[in-house]
Amino acid sequence: MAAARPGGRVDALPLLLAAIALAAVAFGGFIVVAPNRLLSGAPLTLWQAQGAGAPAAVLTLLALIATLAGLRDFRFRWALIGLAAGALVIAAMALAGLAAAAHAEDAGRLTRVSLGAGFWTLLAAGLLILADAVGRERSLPGKVVPVLATGLGMALLMAGGTLSQLSLAREYAVRHQAYLHELLRHLELTGAGLALALLIGGAIGLMAYRRPRRAGSVFAVLDIVQTIPSLALFALLIGPLTALTALLPGLRQLGISGIGPFPAILALGLYGLLPVARGVHAGLSSVPNAVVEAARGMGLTEAQIVRHTLVPLALPTLFQTLRITLVQLIGLAVLAALIGAGGLGTFIFQGLGQTAVDLVLLGALSAIVLALLADIGLRGLAFLLFRRPAR
């Protein structure tokens, strides 16, 4: 990540985002109160929902951000802006949770309190200010601390039950058994697809490295697989697999069938082939030829060269390949629900079918958070292992 330039002028982006957040709080519906989970409800602004104290707290944080953005640059200024933005995000979530609790007490059990456009705008503005601040802060602790503090605050809010009366949390509470099951299934599908992609894609990448002349045509074929829309790839496997199991009924005993987890894992594995093969090929090719020649000169066998020379030197690139592929497959596994394989997509498509917005949110937000956690986690691990930020 490029270091930010020290500059004397006012930084416009946090100011702009703070202004947008201000407008969202003043005029946008912060929460939406509906008579039940399927009907659409009436939006309430933060003022209407919580009285004067809540907008004042948000206003204070926005003023703090604006002031810091207007000051001359000093050490940890961006870290402070990031912390203030994190506080804004946590305040928005806490206020929404408190408002939901207040309204759930007033009205009956069926009443649902959802998050309004004003809330989402405030949340997005806060996260963008945080992202901008992290991007511009120069010191590593100044980058890490605001992100960790925000994440910790969110986790505490969820664990502490402040958010439990929000419709989103109630959709979860109603089906937390099913949620855990589908989450686990999502991870299983992703893991199995990833293993398949690493095994076969890794072999293809190694082969392409060994025989550069064939590499072009191999990658051309994989490119085409990658071009096929993901939904089509999932569905495309149903026909052949159904026909196969009709011909060989014994396969069905092994759990192989046209719908369910098997075709989903196969499709995920196919989609992961190209990024894995390309990454392995690029990683191995990045090892200087002289090093390989030296290893050969020392009398290492081909297998030893791969194990002791190529792989260790290509490890950062290989690790990055793992991260990119994993994040991609987590996202794609959402589609597995469409062919009866389960996973977090189950909630999204159920919610879309019932027009139950918060059920859709439950599935979609979970998938996003899972992908983000995998990305951030592996980036952090790569940084610890190789001592340089992953790109």
Binding site: P229, G331, G345
Partner: protein
């Protein structure tokens, strides 16, 4: 060998895969209705074989319109953002934009699509929104990489030759960055075609519609028709971009050797 330039061009076209894949795609688009009733041997007895909710040319047109319109918007936004981030006034934002695009790239397309439904309702609108949101990132990434790859010496030479900042951008930077920018656009459009397919789950009319209807109605014939057409569509468009890229890479060097 001695054929005229037109025949030469035609025979060169015939050798390109884009021509053949495109021809099969068009033939199936317009011929699926006639072909479908004869495919009964592939499917269980009694399955309905002809998709009737919309004709296949209609589905292709709707799919192409959604993807095309959203791609144009995404290209405009992505290019503007990248140009802004590489100008002196916007340089401070380059790191932020890069990080945002890296973060947003981790968002699953289906999730983005689903999240757009509550505010935009069912149908084409959330699909276009998700398409634009998702399409901007590869364009911006490609344009940032492309504009960043123009050597500083070239920029200095252009400034020395008296180019205005706008002239330098338009006549020097963008043409030199064009192949990498185009690669970004290609990725964006390919992803767009895929995302539009999933758009059928929120009610958009695309080639994904027969797939979704087939999956929910347990009709493998619809699924097959949709998947084959949308796969051919995506591959044709991708190969078409490949041809444009080839032409683009060949042309500047050819032009310069002629002027020299």
């Amino acid at each position: 060998m001695n054929a005229g330039p037109a025949a030469d061009g035609a025979s060169r076209l015939l050798r390109r895969p884009v021509f053949w894949v495109g021809a099969v795609f068009l033939a199936l688009t317009f011929g699926m209705h006639a072909l479908a009733p004869h495919l009964g041997f592939l499917f269980p007895e009694g399955a309905r074989l002809v998709y009737t909710r919309a004709s296949f040319p209609e589905l292709v047109a709707s799919h192409a319109l959604l993807t095309g319109a959203a791609s144009l918007v995404a290209i405009a936004i992505g290019l503007s953002a990248a140009v802004f981030a590489t100008r002196p006034a916007g340089r401070d934002y380059a790191a932020t934009l890069e990080m945002l695009s890296a973060v947003a790239q981790t968002f699953p397309p289906v999730a983005v699509l689903a999240l757009a439904v509550p505010s935009l309702g069912y149908g084409a609108l959330p699909t276009v929104f998700a398409l634009v949101l998702y399409g901007v990132l590869p364009v911006m990434g490609g344009a940032l990489a492309g504009l960043g790859s123009v050597p500083g010496a070239v920029l200095d030479a252009a400034d020395g030759a008296g180019f205005t900042p706008g002239g330098r951008l338009w006549r020097i930077e963008l043409p030199l960055a064009a192949p990498i920018i185009l690669a970004g656009i290609r990725t964006s459009v390919t992803i767009g075609i895929g995302t539009a397919t999933i758009g059928s789950t929120v009610g958009a009319l695309t080639l994904g519609s027969p797939i979704i209807d087939g999956l929910s109605g347990d009709n493998p014939a619809f699924v097959l028709q949709g998947t084959v057409l949308v796969a051919l569509f995506a591959v044709t468009v991708d190969l078409g971009f490949g041809e444009v890229e080839r032409a683009l890479v060949r042309q500047p060097s050819g032009a310069s050797s002629r002027t020299r």
